[in-house]
């Protein structure tokens, strides 16, 4: 057995009820590490090309990594993956909390689910005992109540992950929730819904053994000390402090990206949240940073964990909501329904702009007007999307790309998405790293592939394309490795934004391997290139699919500190050429045979 790992992967077929345990060899673990590595390996091998993501043949995987269950930073995080019902590409999203750590304590590294149950079920894992149980009584319940009721039946010692009513209704932009933590992006929730899978509950009391306990504790000690010195802001505010600085930088998407500065930013920012709404700080399992916060919605006396920065953008500046109570409430509703706040907020903002421009009328919306700045309008749009209400709800729950395709005409200009996934709140116009980063992400508009690392640079230094492809390449490799370990990306201020020696040190201390920096860099590239192969196989596109939203390509930022910035096609092309060269993909964006060989992926050439 390799230290750190459980050594077993669980395979569950919900159609037949068959449950099998696979015990992969050490080569498998060292080649794919965990998390997204396991996910893309199983997706590529077990999902037939071109299948409907919501069909029984589709596969849903969730995985821990070698560091899960240890002291590593945020090593309770869980990685969920499937073929996305939202983009048709890779759905790969990570949730905080402690679900994957519990999976490891139960004796498994990952779970691969296929098939479809005849009626609603939940999977109950109690160490070696794995059962598929009837769960009709939980169907229709929101996420927090679902977890409470399951724990009441099974004991509170269980960790539960579940979907909400939106996932049951197969809304493509749906999440999986565990505790109050969310794997939000690209529709993993709907995949569970399509399988009649309401929840998974896990209890484990087994050991996670590490090769060198002394070294693991020393690494933790160094990390905790540095966290204290450098991440105080995250501990105090979480990411809610970011709107003020990102707004001053001129890159906070506002009114569906018509602008990138928001005049009411102070009303939705970290100060007001932390002085007037904060109830308590929360931590993920085994994390000393505790960046999560429970906030109170003062208007209605509700509580929500979050919002965090991305939601202050998607439910705040994008729909121009200047009353933070509505931002918290929209976040709470989304968590309860099991909805991705980023896609929901950006889609709601698009609806508001389309109505403003007359491209969408009350005839299309069932008689209602939706306006920028109106909190009630935002909440109503969240409910319409989550409940898939009527013809209008059925359309807009599919997101901005689907809306543009349905409406035709100029609507595409106002659809802010990459490969069908709405980008997070890190502007591709204000940061060219994010232009090339979003364009080449296997997930689309994900801020957890390339990272926004140009904050702090003045606009004149951000106008160049020089070095941006390299930024994207390095940060993508680093997030990719983080997602396979599986650890939290918020360690970036400590370990930097490239794959670092510290990552190799952690892996070696836990597993007993002797990985080098070069080896783990290669693992990151391998997983990322495998994700690329999946993107090409499922979309039939390589370079032609690597693009960014119309506004980012054509419309300069009209005002603020990043005024005038955008990324015309010529610049994107320059960066793409450099990027493909760095990856060893040809200029059409396809991995070359030599690259596949270098990465140990010959069998996929």
């Amino acid at each position: 057995m390799v230290y750190g790992y459980a050594g077993k992967i669980l395979h569950i077929d919900l159609t037949t009820g068959k449950i099998e345990v696979e015990t992969p060899n050490e080569d498998f673990y060292r080649k794919w590490l965990g998390g997204n590595g396991f996910i893309i390996k199983y997706l590529y091998d077990e999902v037939k090309k071109g299948i409907d993501p919501l069909s029984p043949e589709a596969v849903s995987v969730f995985a821990s990594g070698p560091l899960s269950g240890t002291l590593a930073h945020g090593a309770g995080r869980t990685h969920f993956g499937a073929k996305s019902p939202q983009t048709g590409l890779l759905a790969d999203s990570s949730a905080g909390g402690g679900f994957a750590a519990m999976l490891k304590y139960a004796g498994y590294d990952a779970v691969v689910i296929k098939g479809k149950a005849a009626s609603p079920v939940m999977i109950v894992i109690n160490n070696d005992k794995v059962e598929i149980r009837e769960a009709e009584r939980f169907w229709g319940l929101k996420t927090i109540e679902t977890q409470h009721r399951i724990k009441k039946e099974l004991t509170h010692e269980y960790k539960v992950a579940c979907i909400g009513p939106a996932g049951e209704k197969l809304v493509p932009m749906t999440s999986i929730i565990t505790d109050t933590r969310v794997a939000g992006r690209s529709g993993n929730g709907a995949v569970w819904g399509s399988k009649n899978l309401k929840a998974i509950a896990i209890y484990g009391d087994k050991d996670v053994k590490v090769a060198d306990m002394g070294k693991v504790k020393a690494l933790y000690g160094e990390f905790a000390q540095k966290a204290k010195e450098t991440l105080g802001g995250l501990s105090k505010y979480g990411t809610t402090g970011l709107p003020a600085s990102i707004n001053a930088f001129g890159g906070m998407g506002t009114r569906n990206m018509q602008e990138e500065t928001f005049e009411h930013v102070d009303k939705i920012g970290g100060e007001i949240l932390n002085t007037e709404h904060l109830i308590r700080h929360r931590s993920c399992f085994s994390c000393c940073i505790h960046c999560a916060k429970d906030f109170k919605v003062n208007k209605w006396d509700n509580v929500s964990e979050g919002p965090e920065y991305e939601t202050q953008y998607s439910f705040g500046s994008m729909p121009a909501i200047g009353d933070v109570d509505y931002v918290i409430e929209a976040d709470r509703l989304s968590d309860e329904y099991g909805l991705d706040t980023i896609s929901a907020g950006v889609t709601a903002s698009m609806i508001m702009e389309l109505m403003e421009r007359g491209l969408l009328t009350e005839k299309d919306t069932g008689g209602r007007t939706f306006k920028f700045g109106n909190g009630e309008d935002l909440l109503e749009l969240v409910r319409i999307i989550a409940e898939r209400r009527g013809e209008f709800g059925d359309l807009i729950c599919k997101g901005t790309r689907a809306i543009a395709e349905k409406l035709g005409g100029d609507a595409y200009k106002y659809a802010f998405h990459v490969k069908g996934l709405e980008p997070a709140g890190h502007s591709p116009r204000a940061q060219k790293t994010m232009s090339v980063g979003y364009a080449t992400s296997p997930r689309g508009g994900s801020h957890h592939d390339a990272r926004p690392i140009e904050y702090g640079l003045p606009p004149e230094k951000r106008k160049t394309t020089e070095g941006r492809a390299l930024n994207a390449f390095n940060t993508q490799n680093w997030t990719c490795l983080g997602d396979s370990l599986v650890v939290c990306h918020f360690a970036e201020k400590i370990y930097g934004t490239s794959v670092a020696q510290a990552h190799s040190d952690w892996i070696n201390a836990v597993t007993g391997w002797n990985t080098t920096l070069d080896e783990i860099k290669l693992i990151a590239e391998r997983i990322y290139t495998m994700e690329r192969l999946f993107t090409i196989r499922e979309s039939g596109k390589a370079r032609t699919g690597d693009t960014i939203p119309w506004r980012a390509l054509n419309e300069p930022i009209p005002s603020g500190a990043s005024k005038g910035m955008y990324t015309p096609q010529k610049e994107l092309d320059t960066m793409l050429d450099e990027y493909y060269d760095l990856r060893g993909w040809d200029r059409k964006g396809v991995p070359t045979k030599a690259t596949l060989k270098r990465l140990g992926l010959e069998e996929y050439s």
């Binding site: 002291l71 304590y105 927090i144 409470h148 009391d205 050991d207 996670v208 504790k217 700080h281 994390c287």
Partner: protein, 133 residues
């Protein structure tokens, strides 16, 4: 008697105390081998369970072999492992759910204040744990 005191207002629910405890005493990361337990629930403050080192300890009374005794020097209830027969009566007797059992061991899992310097108090990132009288 001295015991671990918990401040629910400070605890963020990271469970690192459990990982440090189980790794110190059982050389593995396993919250179910921790002598201190933190229970986190959505939207409410975390709760804790640990041996409170009672002056008038029901576990001491329940132990049929005098394996649990009051240690006056370190002001704690301590387990004399050689005397323990693994009957678990102490686990049942504890009114605070502060003593645990794990199938891997023949002895109860009970806080002994780490011989005077509790590991969990040392490492708690939020200073939510302390030693009190």
């Amino acid at each position: 008697m001295k015991h671990i005191v918990f401040d629910e207002k400070k605890c963020a629910g990271c469970n690192l105390c459990e990982l440090f405890c189980s790794s110190k005493w059982y050389d593995a990361f396993n919250p179910k081998k921790s002598r201190i337990r933190i229970k986190t629930e959505d939207y409410v403050a975390p709760k804790y369970n640990v041996c409170l080192q009672c002056d008038d300890a029901p576990c001491v009374e329940a132990c049929p072999t005098d394996a649990l005794i009051i240690d006056q020097d370190l002001e704690r209830v301590v387990l004399i492992e050689d005397k323990c027969i693994g009957c678990r009566l102490c686990v049942r007797a504890c009114p605070y759910d502060g003593i645990y059992w794990h199938k891997d061991y023949k002895l109860p899992i009970k806080c002994n204040l780490c011989e005077g310097e509790p590991e969990c108090v040392k490492i708690c990132p939020k200073n939510a744990l302390s030693v009190g009288d």
